[in-house]
């Protein structure tokens, strides 16, 4: 398991990722599949761009009135016979769930996929209390076997290839025949299903996340493609929903609007295969469902973001489109980011939640290409927010001394045009002379950061401004 958070070692993580052939092979799938599917499904829906505007406005409205909607939501949950637990920190959130499990005599917990449960370190907390947490999403199940963290917020095992999964199943499922055929994705899925079925039935508690919490009805909504979430929340006696406070939407109608952009942006599906709404525990007339229904509402740093320059990040509906379209994510994968949330959304959210002193590399490791913002279903200005983190780092003197010194020197000249022209004029002529007609440098003192990857094109000679002055003088002489 990655030591959490390893974000301070981002550069080291990235180097290891770039040298990992299996990982690079797996990342090739992100680069092609997700992007093509999203583009196709967006093209088929003429009002897709208008829906994105509507989704953005809806999320902004919720964030502006979050207190009102959270309280309304709580009332509805209580009315439907459920319980609501408000928690400030990750530790508090895990403790509440562990205590719930202990007091119900639980020995195992079936989990649907939930990034907030990663954020609060729930599995480790349960294990420490002697309670087995079983991940039931196929991707989550695979990485749990491998002792890894998710590398993507909707495709947790996207860093693995099929042969990696086959090897893992053969290593762990030793009770199954050695000569079984696992060459197809379907056979891997069937094996995971069979193994998980018994675990669903044995689980005392089901824990799921929530894509949306509906204030109007007190309903939690999850979307999945495997149906594991349904089993996790219906079969056990107790269903615990763990969700961060910004997941609220006012009405079912609003949830439907967001669902229209969520799956399209995430996987390129019009809808996920399963969209499951849960309201309270089993009622007298219900044929199944949990006897108890709990919601753990996690703040863990979100309320500090409200009203700050990072508030727009709370619009996020966790589709993963930003990382699917990010050239840096494509190059290094999710684990390099070193904490729960990778890619552009992680580069903004992680410093908010664990501190920019630990996660400072993340908002810097971006080319600002803007492709993330161009696909974000709720139009979060991700590059702008990353830049705000760079401003905070600059103000707090957290950026590296060498780059600060270089920037200071550059700015000194850039603010003095005459001196700048004199200094750059000399430098460029010297460099052009040094290149001696070769047109490029393969190495150059102080430029190794550039030349360790590529040649540095040499300057042509005199600067444009020097030549322009001469050119204008010559023009004036002409009759």
């Amino acid at each position: 398991m990655t030591v959490y958070p390893s974000s301070p070692q981002f550069k080291k993580n990235a180097r290891a990722a770039l040298a990992d052939g299996q990982l690079q092979k797996a990342l090739g799938n992100v680069r092609t599949n997700f992007i093509a599917k999203r583009a196709a499904v967006a093209d088929r829906l003429p009002e897709f761009e208008a829906l994105r505007d509507q989704a953005r406005d809806l999320r902004d409205h919720v964030l502006a009135h979050l207190d009102v909607y959270l309280e309304a939501y709580e009332r509805k949950v209580l009315e439907s016979g459920g319980h609501v637990h408000w928690v400030r920190t990750a530790e508090e959130a895990s403790r509440i769930i562990v205590d719930l499990a202990k007091s119900r005599g639980a020995r195992s917990v079936a989990k649907g996929k939930s990034m907030v449960s990663e954020e609060i370190g729930l599995n480790a907390a349960l294990e420490r209390a002697g309670i087995k947490a079983v991940e039931t999403d196929l991707g989550e199940y695979i990485i749990q076997l491998r002792g890894e963290a998710p590398s993507h917020i909707i495709a947790p095992a996207v860093h693995l290839n099929q042969e990696d999964v086959e090897a893992e199943f053969r290593r762990v499922h030793t009770w199954l025949p050695k000569d079984r055929d696992l060459s197809e994705p379907e056979s891997l899925l069937a094996e995971a299903r069979a193994e998980l079925r018994a675990k669903f039935l044995a689980a005392d508690i089901g824990v799921t996340g929530a894509n949306f919490l509906v204030a109007e009805t007190g309903t939690s909504i999850i979307v999945t493609n495997e149906g594991n979430g349904d089993l996790s929340q219906i079969l056990p006696r107790v269903h615990v929903v763990v969700a961060s406070i910004e997941k609220i939407v006012p009405t079912l109608e609003d949830a439907a609007s967001l669902l229209r952009v969520l799956a399209r942006s995430a996987t390129g599906q019009e809808m996920s295969v399963y969209t499951t709404l849960s309201t309270g525990p089993r009622r007298a007339e219900d044929v199944d469902g949990p006897q108890e229904y709990h919601v753990v509402l996690v703040d863990n740093g979100r309320s500090n973001m409200l009203g700050s320059e990072f508030e727009e990040m709370l619009r996020c509906i966790r589709c993963g489109a930003c990382m699917n379209h990010c050239p840096v994510y494509h190059a290094v994968g999710g684990h390099a980011y070193g904490w729960v949330y990778p890619g552009p959304m992680g580069a903004v959210l992680t410093p908010s939640l664990i501190g920019v002193d630990k996660a400072g590399h993340l908002p810097n490791a971006s080319t600002f290409c803007g492709r993330c913002e161009s696909v974000c279903p709720v139009r979060i200005p991700l590059p702008k927010l990353m830049r705000h983190w760079r401003e905070r780092e600059f103000e707090r003197h957290l950026s590296p001394a060498v780059s600060r010194a270089f920037l200071g020197l550059w700015a000194f000249f850039a603010r003095r045009p005459a001196l700048y022209r004199f200094a750059t004029g000399l430098t460029m002529r010297a460099l052009a002379w040094a290149a001696r007609g070769k047109g490029r440098f393969t190495s150059l003192p102080l430029a190794s950061g550039w030349t360790n990857q590529r040649d540095l094109p040499a300057p042509q000679g005199q600067t444009f401004q020097a030549q322009w002055k001469a050119h204008q003088a010559a023009r004036r002489k002409r009759p």
């Binding site: 840096v328 190059a331 803007g370 492709r371 401003e391 600059f394 850039a414 003095r416 360790n452 401004q465």
Partner: protein
């Protein structure tokens, strides 16, 4: 060449030549001047250093603001500010207003300044109505859509429109032409191995296109891609799109050696 502006009032254009063009490849600046003059503009080159983007993207707002004011002062007396770069153009047209949004004294001024700023090729096509150029370049070319131009200023069809009018030129669209080349300013140096991986993917697409020459509208991206192609021993030539549109392709391509004298 369009001549529909020749009868109207004088169009005064200030050329923001950009620091990279000023220092590394002045020929692009002269190509820009030729294209603008051919389209009927009166071009001036106010005293300049840089647009301030390195400071802005490093979180140094104070220096970014100071340089922005310097640029706005220098270009106060022109009708349009035009840059042969989507990145520097985007800095002026999109980010100057952000820099001053809380500054009552400069907010309106920065917005007005942004409104008169354009990237070179989109200015020719969208503002001046230029639909063709008098130039010849008998080669297959691939065009890379630089990120800032594409996503901040909607530069996509304009260069293709003008390239289609270049005699002999054949445009070979490459896969992922709209994907970042991995330059990202200081990113290329600070995270050089990630940048190296990204530019490798890009040059693989360039090679696969079968193009003779790679074009783009931003010298930063071009230096990154040309440097990588040169490092890998590729024969593909690299130029700024303005050089081809202006018919000014006598200088050796970016990162290429001067031809041996006969």
């Amino acid at each position: 060449m369009s001549d529909n502006n020749k009868a109207g009032p004088e169009i005064r254009v200030g050329l923001l030549v950009t620091c990279l063009v000023d220092l590394f490849r002045p020929g692009i600046g002269f190509a820009a001047v030729k294209l603008l003059e051919d389209a009927g503009c009166v071009v001036s080159v106010p005293s300049q250093t840089c647009c301030g983007q390195p400071a802005f993207n490093s979180g140094d707002r104070a220096n970014a603001r100071a340089i922005a004011v310097q640029v706005m002062d220098a270009f106060a007396n022109v009708d349009y500010v035009v840059a042969p770069s989507g990145s520097c153009g985007g800095m002026l047209a999109r980010h100057y207003p952000e820099l001053f949004e809380d500054d009552p004294a400069l907010s309106a001024r920065s917005r007005a300044f942004a409104a008169k700023t354009h990237e070179l090729v989109s200015f020719l096509v969208d503002v001046l109505g230029v639909q063709s150029v008098q130039a010849a370049f008998p080669y297959a070319v691939a065009y890379h859509d630089s990120c800032s131009g594409l996503r901040e200023l909607n530069v996509r069809d304009q260069p293709r429109t003008l390239l289609a009018s270049v005699a002999g030129l054949q445009l070979r669209e490459m896969k992922d032409s709209d994907v970042c080349c991995g330059f990202g300013g200081a990113f290329a140096v600070k995270y050089s191995d990630i940048s190296g991986a990204i530019v490798s993917s890009k040059t693989a697409c360039v090679e696969a296109s079968g193009a003779h020459t790679l074009l783009a509208g931003d010298l930063g991206c071009l230096m990154n891609m040309a440097g990588k192609l040169a490092r890998d021993g590729s024969k593909i030539e690299v130029r700024h799109v303005a050089e081809v549109l202006a018919g000014m392709t006598d200088a050796p391509p970016i990162a290429a050696a001067a031809p041996e004298k006969a």
